[in-house]
């Protein structure tokens, strides 16, 4: 693991002053969808949930 981190440090050599980051490689903005309802068959989802009780997803205790 440390060996890999050392390898990552290689990027320290690069001077990136005033260089903006490229978070998104495509140059598109403002992608929206209209405010419309489409109902998904929730039974298809809850079917794959490991533990369900009265349609609640059943999880372990909190504390």
């Amino acid at each position: 693991m440390n060996e890999i981190l050392d390898y990552f440090k290689k990027i320290d050599e690069v001077d990136v002053e005033n260089i903006p980051p490229t978070y998104h490689v495509v140059n598109i903005v403002n992608v929206f969808r209209p405010d419309e309802v489409r109902v998904f068959d929730a039974n298809k989802i809850i079917k794959i949930t490991p533990r369900v009780k009265e349609r609640y997803v059943k999880g372990p205790k909190a504390i």
């Binding site: 890999i4 990552f8 290689k10 990027i11 490229t22 998104h24 998904f40 533990r51 997803v57």
Partner: protein, 478 residues
């Protein structure tokens, strides 16, 4: 009879099914006979969908008989990488944590191949969560290279490439985050394309490194590749990062002519660690293209040596967040409750469900995003990404394509690199730049060395898949 048909390019098989030389059902039966034989040696698939494939084939036969309009992928058997969601068909990502995960929906690419009458025949083996370059990191055991069973098929889409190389599928879908389509294509002597980021919808692709990856075709030849790519690409409103362009017909770009094209040969792509044999074969290929009328010159890219660490920092960071959802509450593996609290259950689930390499990348990615390290790792990597992209943009101002090796080395033996992750990462040195920049890149076979395949990589500017197909097709035809 007609068992040679399985070895034909997909385009030919589709034509024969459409032309009623063979029924879709007959083809499908033959294909599964072969799969059942080959799988004992290759292990390309995690899940096979024989029943639904056969009933699909019969539906298509009826369409043919009724003279209905047929899709472009009419009847062809398609192997799908197991990180692409298929409605009602188990999708494991090569992981124990998703061993029994059955998606409730189809990925957009699956909807598209179905609407073109393509038939999903099964889900292919892969490195767990696409993290690896050999397909050895699969919870379901490794895939073997059809050209030499002692060697790896490459990865992470090793199952898809091996299925094509062993004629267990007509076409295949892979996904490429840092070379995962091109690497196994190189090692298995198939054609593999990672298109421009945003051309193929990622809806339904189980995320590893979202800002880097694309689904793409793995095929027997360039024409098949152009056909499948034409069918799966084009705008999808379900993926916000999908480019707003309609699908194109890339088969029109299959022109046997490279006259006047300018090839850039970047010397860093042939750097230290590149096998001499690979260097020789790739240079021979460049010379061949020159003889066909293209010209080339040699260049240098200053920031290319930083591409690999930059890539791994970004991919691991994104992965650490993407994989957080596997906590066993909503889907996937769930360890017995006992009387643990949820934090304990989460850790136990993930400890049991994830393999070593996945854990390693989650930890490293978490580290790179942590307060105090974010600037030095994640943010800095994203800035270097800008520098790399700028350099490539500069080169593409006066070059049409870049040519380089896909993999710096020949297919190696199973277990050879699994002990040393860093050595494994080094294999991706030539493939990651296309993911960092979003540029399209294709790997095509350029020969064998003692029965071991060698792949040639062609890279083009954003949205210039046409140039890739043109150069690849010309190379293949001559």
């Amino acid at each position: 009879m007609k068992s040679y048909i399985l070895k034909l390019p997909a385009v030919e098989i589709i034509n024969r099914i459409k032309g009623q030389e063979i029924s879709a059902e007959e083809y499908m039966i033959k294909l599964f006979e072969r799969i059942e034989r080959e799988e004992r040696k290759i292990h390309a698939f995690i899940t096979l969908t024989k029943d639904s494939a056969l009933s699909q084939a019969r539906i298509i036969d009826r369409k043919i008989k009724k003279n209905e309009k047929l899709g472009r992928l009419c009847g062809i058997g398609i192997a799908v990488k197991d990180n692409i969601c298929t409605d009602g068909v188990r999708t494991t990502c090569g992981s124990r944590i998703l061993e029994n995960f059955i998606p409730p929906y189809d990925a957009t690419v699956i909807e598209r191949i179905k609407s073109e009458d393509g038939i999903v025949i099964g889900k292919t083996n892969m490195d767990e969560f696409a993290m690896g370059s050999t397909t050895e990191y699969s919870y379901f055991g490794p895939t073997f290279n059809p050209w030499d069973r002692e060697r790896v098929p490459g990865g992470s889409s090793g199952g898809s490439a091996a299925a094509i190389a062993s004629h267990e599928a007509g076409l295949a879908l892979g996904a490429d985050t840092g070379g995962s389509i091109r690497c196994p294509s190189s090692f298995c002597s198939t054609v593999g394309l990672k298109g421009t980021y945003g051309l193929v919808s990622r809806y339904g692709l189980i995320s590893y490194g979202n800002s880097l990856e694309q689904i793409g075709p793995i095929t027997k030849d360039v024409k098949d590749c152009a056909l499948l790519f034409s069918c799966i690409s084009g705008h999808d409103s379900k993926d916000s990062t999908s480019l707003p362009y309609p699908a194109k017909d890339y088969t029109k770009a299959l022109v046997d002519d490279v006259k006047g094209l300018k090839i850039g040969v970047v010397k860093e792509f042939f750097g230290e660690g590149t096998d001499e044999v690979v260097v020789k074969y790739v240079w021979n290929s460049i010379k061949k293209l020159e003889s066909l009328g293209a010209s080339y010159d040699e260049l240098s890219l200053k920031f290319l040596e930083y591409a690999l660490p930059t890539y791994y920092i970004i991919a691991m960071s994104e992965a650490s967040s993407n994989l957080a959802r596997y906590d066993g509450l909503r889907y996937g593996l769930r360890v017995p409750n006992k009387s643990y609290d949820w934090n304990t259950i989460f850790s136990k689930n993930r400890k049991l469900g994830f393999g070593l390499e996945v854990k390693r990348r989650i930890i490293l990615g978490t580290y790179a995003l942590s307060a105090g390290y974010f600037q030095a790792y994640y943010l800095k990597a994203q800035k270097i990404r800008t520098l790399i992209r700028r350099e490539f943009d500069q080169i593409f101002k006066n070059h049409d394509v870049l040519i380089c090796p896909t993999m710096p080395i020949l297919p190696f033996k199973l277990g050879e690199k699994i002990k040393d992750p860093l050595e494994m990462y080094m294999c991706d040195i030539d493939t990651v730049p296309a993911n960092l920049t979003g540029m399209p890149a294709i790997s095509i076979p350029c020969g064998f060395y003692h029965n071991l395949p060698i792949g040639l990589q062609i890279i083009a500017q954003i949205y210039r898949e046409d140039l890739l197909f043109r150069v690849a097709y010309t190379f293949e035809q001559n």
